[in-house]
């Protein structure tokens, strides 16, 4: 075999072997942390729902409708923001939007300030908070939240008849 081919083959073997080891390692870490991560995300969703509604409603996991009782509908959406996936909780009571919160995100620190309850996102529950296209300086982050709100509104219209009786 020519020397160049041997060298290329050796490189491919080493890199391929390293990839296999890395993949195995990542799978192990994922298996060890996935349950805790899911529990952390659930607890964070639960906390924002309590903050939004004052109710301690048990939230189910792996569903978009996470609470559905006493005239309350809460939806947990997953949207793509600037830095990856973000959890968005949207709550309705008796057919009206109560508020929008983001319990987990990987947006750029600083730009993510609009997601603090006292900031922009806190006003989304108000009636005049409806007509916003985006927030200047955090366009992608704010659009992701608005997309989740729009999706939640649609889902809510389907779910409301049997949640709010």
């Amino acid at each position: 075999m020519p020397a160049a081919l041997t060298a290329a083959l050796r490189g491919a073997l080493v890199l391929g072997g390293l990839m296999a080891v890395a993949g195995l390692g990542l799978a192990l870490v994922n298996a060890g942390t996935a349950a805790r991560i899911e529990e952390n995300r659930r607890a964070a969703r639960q906390a924002v729902l309590r903050e939004l509604t004052g109710l301690n409603v048990e939230m189910a996991t792996h569903q978009d409708i996470v609470a559905c009782e006493q005239g309350l509908v809460a939806l947990a959406m997953v949207e793509r923001g600037y830095g990856g996936g973000m959890d968005v909780v949207v709550a309705f009571r008796n057919g009206r939007l109560v508020g929008v919160r983001v319990p987990r995100h990987t947006e750029t620190p600083g730009f993510a300030d609009i997601l603090a309850p006292a900031d922009w996102i806190g006003g989304l529950g108000a009636p005049d908070g409806a007509n916003i296209d985006a927030v200047t300086g955090a366009t992608i982050t704010s659009r992701a939240v608005l997309r989740a709100r729009a999706a939640a509104l649609n889902r809510h219209q389907e779910a409301a008849p049997w949640c709010e009786r």
């Binding site: 060298a7 942390t33 964070a44």
Partner: protein, 199 residues
């Protein structure tokens, strides 16, 4: 023991990634709004750097020169992804604050620089010590900047924002340069004195 200390000190102080080499400054400005965030990023970067340095040093005779960079990046990326998952599982509050920059540890040029320049050419113990020193120096810079900005934030709100980060970091870098220059003059002065005494 003395040689060990010298190696760590050279990596942490004289070749400090932040103030001597100007490397890794992006997270330095972005995340150092508080001590807690700075500490989280410092810890994550240290774990990745030391782990990657040890792994690369151990594999250095096995990895052919022409695929070494993909191999290094693969190792760094694997460690970064693992640290990110562990942080979300065991330090969720901090994770939500610095998540994006945790993922960006993989692109920190300070880490790849040290791996390529030192760890890939030295045995495991030396590579690990050098990485430890580099990480200590980087952590020190992050923590100082975080502490100053957190302390100033109440009185000068600008300090917590990005422009304030540049200003505070610029002042600290100038201070570090001045201190280094002063230390150098003292050392040279001491040498001159010894030469005069004929030592």
């Amino acid at each position: 023991m003395v040689r060990t200390l010298k190696l760590v000190k050279a990596a942490a102080v004289e070749r400090n990634a932040a103030w001597a080499q100007g490397l890794g400054l992006c997270p330095l400005f972005a995340v150092t709004t508080s001590i807690e965030n700075a500490a989280a990023l410092a810890l994550a970067s240290s774990v990745v750097l030391v782990g990657a340095a040890a792994a690369v040093a151990a594999l250095r005779s096995l990895v052919p020169a022409d695929v070494r960079l993909p191999c290094f990046v693969l190792i760094i990326a694997t460690l970064t992804a693992s640290v990110t998952m562990l942080a979300e599982a065991f330090a969720f509050d901090v994770y939500t604050q610095v998540a994006l920059f945790l993922q960006l540890v993989v692109t920190n040029c300070m880490i790849l620089g040290r791996i390529e320049q030192f760890a890939s050419r030295n045995p495991v113990p030396r590579a690990t010590l050098d990485a430890l020193g580099t990480a200590l120096g980087f952590a020190f810079a992050l923590l100082i900047l975080g502490a100053v900005r957190e302390a100033l934030a109440d009185a000068v709100p600008l300090a917590a924002l990005a422009p304030g980060g540049f200003i505070v970091a610029g002042l600290l870098l100038a201070l570090a340069r001045a201190a280094t220059a002063w230390a150098g003059r003292v050392e040279r002065g001491a040498w001159a004195g010894r030469a005069e005494r004929g030592a």
